[in-house]
Symmetry: C2
Subunit: 228 residues, 2 copies
Amino acid sequence: MPAGTATPRRKYEEILLLRYLAGLGADRSPAVLSSREVGVHLGVSQQAADRYLLALARDGFLERSLGGRKQSLTLKASGLDLLRREYHDLRRLFEGPARLRFTGSVVSGLGEGRYYLAQPGYTVQFAERLGYTPYPGTLNIQPGPPDLLRVSAVKDWKGLRIDGFSAAGRTFGGATCHAARLGGRPGHLITPDRTHHTDVVEFIAPEYLRERLSLKDGDPVDVELEES
Amino acid sequence: MPAGTATPRRKYEEILLLRYLAGLGADRSPAVLSSREVGVHLGVSQQAADRYLLALARDGFLERSLGGRKQSLTLKASGLDLLRREYHDLRRLFEGPARLRFTGSVVSGLGEGRYYLAQPGYTVQFAERLGYTPYPGTLNIQPGPPDLLRVSAVKDWKGLRIDGFSAAGRTFGGATCHAARLGGRPGHLITPDRTHHTDVVEFIAPEYLRERLSLKDGDPVDVELEES
DNA sequence: ATTACTAGGTATCGAGTAC
DNA sequence: TGTACTCGATACCTAGTAA
């Protein structure tokens, strides 16, 4: 299951346009460009450039405001994500699997992890794909502010899929796992598809790490992970 | 003058195909794939996949041998270069301008540098684009073997163009310059479009560096450069 | 000046099929 | 099995032009 071929693929010109906008810093402040200028840059007509802009805006990759003489173009998060995925794919080719090491502090979750991880629909998949049944509880780690951006890039890495399912009249979402070590102990970073928090990552392991490593809230921990 | 829009642009599917092959290590050993398998991976028909292979082979990006049952596909240097350029463009977006620092040893050239650098067709461009008229001679540096690969990546960096011209009944080729420091002294790495050697880089500077730094053949020197 | 529609020509696709 | 041609359908481009 190759990543990146599932979605109904964008046109190359559209990707080049997103790249161009990103290069102009349109993810931070709007780029003011006419469709003609875009066309010249891409080597296509004003009309074609306009169609690309229309399509990208329709699909939520950029935002346009046609207020004044020219339009203001702003790259949205999903547009930048698309480029980041492209970057990551190519980076892998030339630099090999990504590695990451960061320090974070232990924080308390809502205790939901215990309920979710105990679901048979999940545990059978864990046993099969991770090779163990995790202790029923996630250890939540808040990366230090300088690491947060790098940690968020992990979502683009290839990972082990845990599929969603339905049980007891409700649905349980899927997740992606990445092999990692926390304080030297092996386990996985787990990223639910529908994640609630953006500044915290969840770690699962075969053992009860809080006890094994004598961790309490606020304690610093080292996390290392390598792309599979 | 945006780099990457001059060439008559490849189709995205063709680039994805090159990426796929690179991912299979087809730059080192042939990948054995039918056009149907390629088509499945790209989400297009066998016929379309075949057309892409045909076009890429025609343009020298890959080599096919149709000997046995399936074809053997080998990625050629220009195919990998194309991907490397894509990678570099995206890397710049997310990581900022590239930097490089390497150590090499001083080697003797053929003395041609003196003749070329003295051509008025070049000197006016140097003065205008580099901000100085270089001492008429290049200092040749041979990077240490471990650095050679990284140094060769510099050709993908954005740089200052020096255009070719005709004079005295012959033609002088263009070149690309990258701002750099050699042993702490400012100057430029200069890469002729039609370069003769592959393991040596040439450095130009406002002053006679051999004398200024008391360099003789075989001496080690530090070179630092940052993308403009 | 813009953006963006319509019309008509071209390029590209997949199906069928020859080798 | 393969690769790769021809052919008719369609997707996409540019030009012209409306707003």
